[in-house]
C-alpha cells in the first residue's frame, strides 16, 4: 500500500517448530522470523527488520495466521511490504482456506498467561490477564463524529469467529493524514478500495462493513502484533486507545517477564480446564445433594 508496487506473496508449508518466517525472495530468501525482537518502525504499521532487511505491514497477515491457528509457515515475498489487499484480512483468509491447511505432527503449543502484564504510554494502554481462552477487549476513542468511542470484547475460540467477526474489518485513516502520508511518499497504493477513509464529517467509502468496523480492525491489529510472541495466547488482552507501538511494548514486556507466562501444549490446558470443570461439577453436585 505505501510503496504502490506490485508484490508476489506465497505461503509455503514449513516444518514443525519453524514458526512464521518471512523470506525475502528478492534477496536470496533472506529469512526474518515473525518475532517481537525484530519489530521496528511502528508508527503506521508493524514492520520487521533484521540486518538492514525489512518487511513492512505484517500485522494483518500475522493476525490471520493466529486467527486461523497456523503456527508454521514460510511467507515468501518479493518486496519489502506485505500487500494491503482490501485493507482487511478477508483475502488472506479466503486464499488460505482455498489452499487448505496441513496438520503437523508436533503438538500445538500456546502461551498461557499466568500473571497480569501492563504496558502504557500516557492514557494509551494495553494489558494481558490470565484467562481460559484467547479473549480481546478493545476500546477506541477518537474526537471524531464518525468514529467516536467504540468498545468490543470477543473470544477468539475458533477460526470461524475470527473469519466472521474480525477478518473483514478494514483499516481506517483520516483524510488529512492520508494526504500527509502521500506527501511523504507513503500510502501511494492507498485508495478507497483498501481502506476506510474518514473526512471531517463522514466516511468517504459507500458504507461500513460493521457498525463498529473500526474497533474490530484494531482487534485484528492487536492479534497480529501479539502474534510476534510466536504463539497463540491463552489470556485476556485489554487495550485502550492503543496502537502498534503500545501492542509491541506489551509483547516485549511479556517476553521479558518470564514468570508471567508459560509455553505449554494446548492439550495440557484443555486437561486443566476439563479437570477444573469436573471439580466444579462435582462441587455443584455435592452441594445439590
Amino acid at each position: 500500500m505505501h510503496s504502490g508496487k506490485k508484490v508476489k506473496l506465497t505461503l509455503t508449508p514449513a516444518p514443525d517448530h519453524t514458526g512464521v518466517v518471512f523470506r525475502r525472495v528478492d534477496l536470496n530468501y533472506f529469512p526474518i522470523k515473525a518475532d517481537i525482537k525484530y519489530a521496528s518502525r511502528l508508527s503506521y504499521a508493524t514492520n520487521l527488520s533484521r540486518n538492514g532487511v525489512s518487511i513492512a505491514t505484517t500485522e494483518h497477515l500475522l493476525g490471520t495466521l493466529i486467527g486461523l491457528g497456523i503456527d508454521n509457515v514460510f511467507v515468501d515475498i518479493d518486496a519489502e511490504e506485505v500487500p494491503i489487499m482490501d485493507g482487511s484480512a478477508s483475502a488472506f483468509v479466503y486464499l488460505i482456506n482455498e489452499a487448505g491447511v496441513r496438520h503437523g505432527d508436533a503438538e500445538k503449543k500456546v502461551l498461557n498467561v499466568l500473571k497480569p502484564v501492563h504496558f502504557a504510554v500516557g492514557d494509551r494502554r494495553v494489558s494481558v490477564y490470565p484467562a481460559e481462552n484467547y479473549k480481546i477487549t478493545y476500546s477506541i476513542e477518537f474526537d471524531h463524529a464518525v468514529v467516536g468511542s467504540q468498545t468490543k470484547t470477543i473470544g477468539i475460540d475458533t477460526a470461524s469467529i475470527f473469519e466472521n467477526e474480525i477478518s473483514g474489518a478494514r483499516t481506517f485513516g483520516f483524510l488529512k493524514d492520508v494526504e500527509m502520508l502521500r506527501k511523504n511518499g507513503l500510502a501511494l497504493g492507498g485508495s478507497l478500495d483498501n481502506a476506510i477513509v474518514i473526512d471531517t464529517d463522514r466516511v468517504l467509502n459507500s458504507h461500513l462493513r460493521f457498525k463498529d468496523e473500526f474497533v474490530r480492525h484494531k482487534i485484528l491489529d492487536v492479534m497480529g502484533d501479539m502474534g510476534l510472541l510466536g504463539y497463540s495466547i491463552r489470556g485476556h488482552v485489554v487495550a485502550h486507545r492503543a496502537g502498534h507501538e503500545i501492542h509491541a511494548g506489551l509483547a516485549k514486556k511479556i517476553r521479558e517477564s518470564q514468570a508471567a507466562f508459560e509455553i505449554v501444549p494446548l492439550s495440557a490446558l484443555v486437561k486443566h480446564a476439563d479437570a477444573r470443570n469436573a471439580m466444579e461439577e462435582a462441587a455443584e453436585l455435592s452441594s445439590q445433594y
Binding site: D86, S90, G168, E179, L192, D193, L204, S206
Partner: protein
Amino acid sequence: MLPIILLFFVLIVLLLLFLLHGRAGDVKNGSESANFYVQAVKLIDSLQSGETAGVENILASIMEADSEKKEIYVIFGNVLREKGYIAEAIKVHKSVLHRPNLENKFKGWALSSLAEDFRLAGMLERAVRTYRDAFNLNPGDSGLLRRYAHLCKQVGDYEKLLSLMDVMAKGKILNEEKYRMEVAFIYNELGEQAAKEGEFSKAETNFRKALKLNAKVYPAYLNLAKLSVEKGDKIGLARKHLEELFRQVPDKAFLGMNLYLRISPGQFEELCHSLLNRNADDWRTRLHLSRYYIQQDRPDAAFPELIKAMQSMPHVLLVHQEIWKFLMQYPKKQEYLKEYAIQTDKIMVFNAPFMCVDCRYKSSEFLWKCPSCFGWNTFVESKI
C-alpha cells in the same frame, strides 16, 4: 457509492423483470409466484427506503423457495461482497458458475461479479483474468465494461484500457467527447510509462497522439517539454511546448511555470503579466510572480501580488504559507504584516478546497489524476 447504486439499480430492474415474468406464469404456479411477488415487494420497499440491512435475508428466502432463480444468487453474492463478506461472495458466485447449461450472457455477468469480488479483495491478478473471461462471454455489457476499465486503470494496464475504450465508443457507452478525453489521457499515461523505461521516442509519439486527440490534455505538453529538456537539452523546443500549454490551457499554466522559469528566465515576468491580463484572478500565476520578485529582492513588487492572490483564493493554505514566508524574510516591514492582518479579517478560510467531483476525495492541492477513484481531470476548486 457508485458500485452500490449500480448494484441496487440492477437489482431493482431484475426484480421488476421477474415480477412481470411471475405474473405471466400465474395460472400455472399461483402460490409460488404470489410468494415471490411478496418477497420482491418487500425487497423493493426496503431498497427504496434505503434500508439495506435485511436485504440478504429476503434474497436468501427467495433462493430457498426456488433454487432455480440463479440470478438471485448472483445478486446475493454481490450484496455479500459489498457488505465485506468477500470469501462468502466468491463461494456463492463460484457455485452459480458451476451450474450446467448456462447461457454465455448470464455466465459473463456472473463471472464479472466474481471478478469484482477478487478486485475488492485485492486479488488483482485474478480479477484481471476473470474480467477478461467475462468480457469475452458478454462483450456488450456496459456495467461490465465500466468496471473492467476501472480495474485496468487501477493496475495500469493502459493498452487493454485503450481497446476497451474503443468497444465502449462503438457501443455508444461513451460519447465522442468523453472518449477523446479518456483516450488522450491514456496516451499520456502510455507516454509516461515509456519515458520511465527510457523509450523516449515512443514516449514522444504517445504524448503527441494524446494532444492530437485532445489539445486540452495539459500533462502531455508538460511531459513533452520535460522530455525535450532531459533528452537532448532542446531548450527551444521545450519552451515551445510550454508556450502551447499556456495558450491552449491557460488555467493550468501554473503546472509548467517552474520549468519555464528555469529554461527561459528572461521571458518569465512578461509571461506572468500576459496570463494575468487574461485572468486577473489567476492566483497561481501571482504566487509564481511573487516568488520571482522575491528572488530578485523586490519585496514591494512581490507583496501586492501575494495579497491579490489571497483575495482571489483565500481558503488555500498555500497562499498564506507563502505570505508567512515572505513576512519572515522581511521582518522589518511592519506595514506588510498590518496589511495582511487587515485583509485576513475579511476572509473565511477552509483547508482542503480541491475535490474530486466523482468520488468526493478532497485534497489541499490540485491533482489531475484522482488517487482514490483513478479518474482524470475530475478535480474542481470548491469556492466560498
